[in-house]
Symmetry: D2
Subunit: 330 residues, 4 copies
Amino acid sequence: MNKKIKVGIVGANGYAGAEVLRLIAEHPAAELKVVTSRAQLGKKVSSAFPALPCDLEFSDASDPALKNCDVVFTALPQTAGAALVGELMDAGVRVIDLSADYRFEDISVYERTYGVTHPRPDLNKLAVYGLCEVNRDKIKSAQLIANPGCYVTSVLLPMLAITKAAKVSNIIADSKSGVSGAGRKADEAYAYCTLDENFKAYGLFTHRHAPEMSEKLGQKILFTPHLLPIKRGILSTIYFDVDNPEAALNALKTAYDGEPFVSYTDVLPEIGFVSHTNRCMFGARFDGNRGIVISVIDNLLKGAAGQAVQNMNIMFGLDETAGLPIYAPI
Amino acid sequence: MNKKIKVGIVGANGYAGAEVLRLIAEHPAAELKVVTSRAQLGKKVSSAFPALPCDLEFSDASDPALKNCDVVFTALPQTAGAALVGELMDAGVRVIDLSADYRFEDISVYERTYGVTHPRPDLNKLAVYGLCEVNRDKIKSAQLIANPGCYVTSVLLPMLAITKAAKVSNIIADSKSGVSGAGRKADEAYAYCTLDENFKAYGLFTHRHAPEMSEKLGQKILFTPHLLPIKRGILSTIYFDVDNPEAALNALKTAYDGEPFVSYTDVLPEIGFVSHTNRCMFGARFDGNRGIVISVIDNLLKGAAGQAVQNMNIMFGLDETAGLPIYAPI
Amino acid sequence: MNKKIKVGIVGANGYAGAEVLRLIAEHPAAELKVVTSRAQLGKKVSSAFPALPCDLEFSDASDPALKNCDVVFTALPQTAGAALVGELMDAGVRVIDLSADYRFEDISVYERTYGVTHPRPDLNKLAVYGLCEVNRDKIKSAQLIANPGCYVTSVLLPMLAITKAAKVSNIIADSKSGVSGAGRKADEAYAYCTLDENFKAYGLFTHRHAPEMSEKLGQKILFTPHLLPIKRGILSTIYFDVDNPEAALNALKTAYDGEPFVSYTDVLPEIGFVSHTNRCMFGARFDGNRGIVISVIDNLLKGAAGQAVQNMNIMFGLDETAGLPIYAPI
Amino acid sequence: MNKKIKVGIVGANGYAGAEVLRLIAEHPAAELKVVTSRAQLGKKVSSAFPALPCDLEFSDASDPALKNCDVVFTALPQTAGAALVGELMDAGVRVIDLSADYRFEDISVYERTYGVTHPRPDLNKLAVYGLCEVNRDKIKSAQLIANPGCYVTSVLLPMLAITKAAKVSNIIADSKSGVSGAGRKADEAYAYCTLDENFKAYGLFTHRHAPEMSEKLGQKILFTPHLLPIKRGILSTIYFDVDNPEAALNALKTAYDGEPFVSYTDVLPEIGFVSHTNRCMFGARFDGNRGIVISVIDNLLKGAAGQAVQNMNIMFGLDETAGLPIYAPI
């Protein structure tokens, strides 16, 4: 307990980065050492964000103090953090990357999906996909974690359990996310008057999280995201055909036994059951060989910053729930 | 134009009934004569609802003045209005019924779905299903209109167009509705603190609008409703397989040519495009033989009171758009 | 009824201008001829705003067709419309200006408040302050209307009635407005995630609507605006000392007798009673010589576009309620 | 650290009680032993509230296990908890009462305000008013804490600082609260469709928190509450006259130096700066001898459950911030 983990955050101005900042600032076993942001460079955190009463100053991503950290969270746009991740790893720092750069085993899928050339295929081989409950053992010793996508987490946790227990096909994930999923932006498309009392679908057949889900599930999945007029939370309604519904349901009920953050519920879960927590809850209904799973997470916690901190807890041998809420406020 | 249509509303305390009241009160060719509500009996409308500055007093459903109306809108719970509908029709009054009582051709499906015995099978044969753009000719001369369900309207308008032009199968309608769809209620499940910043699915495999959609489309449809934290509006995301995607898209683009309230849009429609209007807008995307339609309506207008008034306009030979907004406010 | 009023709108991209567009498009006695917007130049209205199914194309403010209109609504930022207003008036067009340019009798107050030199003091003398119920007679024959500020309207309607009947002092107006009052903007300060579940005060002792209220009331008023997480509506809580509370209350109850849009209510009014309508409702409570008035309007309607159209109705001898809703939807 | 404080909660079904439950469940030095609720009697907490994954069963307020607790939080309606509070105190249990029963020094004011006879005047003398930063020393050794009202806390923290440093008069507190302040209810007045996109004032000249503020400030205060369409948070706009504005401002800036939960801010505070935290933030502006303070808290935390737990921390010699968030989420 005496020696706290020294933490750096690169890109702490974005919603996910700022949420890591908040979690680490209140974490019992970690200590915030460096936070960087180009947009807020030189400002005290509490001046830039009165909601975050932290006296640190935002520095630049080139801040050498990052190399003295035990772990650095990188929350930069695709490919922008690649060089830095390499340097930090060379310096022995462990890295939890919240971008999509290291999430794909098949680099060609990554490159096609994001329209870029992968900056560091060599590092990609070292990366562990940070879906905590599924890859816990590998995470313990990993130096580089690829933190999963938000929508992806909500779909994989229940569907990986089912696909291990039964033959599943024709998966459609109809997902709905709160606005914070789009990140911090000055954009009329995300203005209050544009989104309040509104709801829309986007990215039909083309959203970048579909290939990530498909690779991890080992089958093509049809994925449609929607934008909810709420700040936080994802609910995925997942349709599928299954050869053995009883086995599927049983898998959902038992696969995460004892897990503090992942659980099956007989009552269909609502976003409000998990918002402001690091939990994933799911329920299911079957009609013959047709199944529907309802899965909910908080997109900024279990879908981003929370799972990132959970990965840190695993990597450093801490209580996995340290600093991560499981009770949802009213 | 001199002589206004005399209108009665039975069950004007509910959201749909009150919305008919509002539309008729501002309608250029109709005049409100009788409004009934058990809950508000004897109160002036403007006292019960300061938002509705109308001097009429709520009377009882037995009010004989209803029989002097040219048309009566009945907005009562299932089976509760059946006897009254018969009496009014005997008195020569035309009736637009917003309940589900007369929506089904197959009475046994109605009875199974709603768990009741149909109160008036004889009237059911006379009823015309009031999906205006589809059944306009029959509506003109009908004495009894069964006003379609809200979710159902959002799905039928685009899908009837497609199924006439191509072979469609495996339809899944994943629909999301504003809270007013649940009606006026003192119920913690619909309290502000329960629903704000929340979202949930309900009625998996069991919602009553699924059989209504299935009967009208002539094939079984899988339907899942969800509750959005907004007051008004429905967005349906409709998945299907289709043998001829080009024909399907073309049908969407042309089937409602010239219709003031129904239109195809290249840009995917959002609820905000149609809320507070009587419009239905839909768009579509295809990937091989897979199709997705996005369809939006205002559940209280095109999904209930607006379509009811549109039916009245048709029945009485008025301009079909009279008293019905097509421009959506910010 | 045969010949419709030809209408132009300058600055139809902003929320107020777009709301005028919507009202005129559905107005029974007016016809939209020209709409201008620099931001949307050359686009069809329905392409720029799918919620507004209008086939006109946005033109430039220099469009000569504006001079063929009977009336032009100008909704431009302070001083930007001044030259145009003069040209239109020279061409015999009547102008309803939604900016603050012509609202002040005392030009020096205008100049100090807005930090500009008044562009056309000569026109200022011709302008009529378009508070419809108060200045109706002058409005009838005016060629230039200065449409009042939104907060100002909510305060003046009740307080002018009271100050005519009793001696009032120490007025404090604590006002709360929906977000549309800030206009259409790509600004993180008005992003959904910034304002949802939030509330704030702004402009303490410095807001531009305070001098406008003070001039019209003939006494200094302390005014504090706040930003509500809703799209539309203003509620003003107005504190004051009064020598004769009975006279004050009586004035509130009777001053607007017979007015379709302005009314006293025993029940304290809520924003929801008037949103999406052109009404102003107010109520009051007294404790000795202390009074509190609660006044509500829809900031985009009675507070801007609705009052502007009401002014047009008065100017052209139409039914004053034409095209203006008085029943509020659920 | 080894021995955790044993905690009971009476009335854990209400919003404030449930929020205490959540805080204690995640508190590093406290342990939940008993939770009572008549409405949920016999149910597991996690069954009644899936958002609270706690295995305890709700018992009755007569549960003898309450007497084995170190501290019991009582969150019952006025007077309902009086007998129980006495019994617990006789058994040596320390009590933190969230009702208004013990908040007033002058029992006659309490009785007039709440329209009841005080159940236990003898206990009232023992009670310490639990405004933590102001009464910290007395709280340490108190056996009975009267936890302050939510609105009251937002007003007292800044205004007590000012009134100690300058002569203040004519105080008006115009306060706005989120809906959770009204408690858990099945009531159409608090339904989603009633409150969404709405805003209203209530309790003019008559709200029960006015006498509580007045007693603690030593002068009569005019207080008007309003209902915001958000779940949590209070913002109070406080108007006053002051003889020495410099001293007043200086007091605000320095009175709570070093306090982790209370702070002055140059930027005017918004509800979002403190929601989901136990902080109170305030700012001020002056114009001559006129002052305006803007003060914000989370009504369920610093305004109720959070301050209650802070009182517990003080009473048991814990780190005062234990289990209480100070960083606000996005």
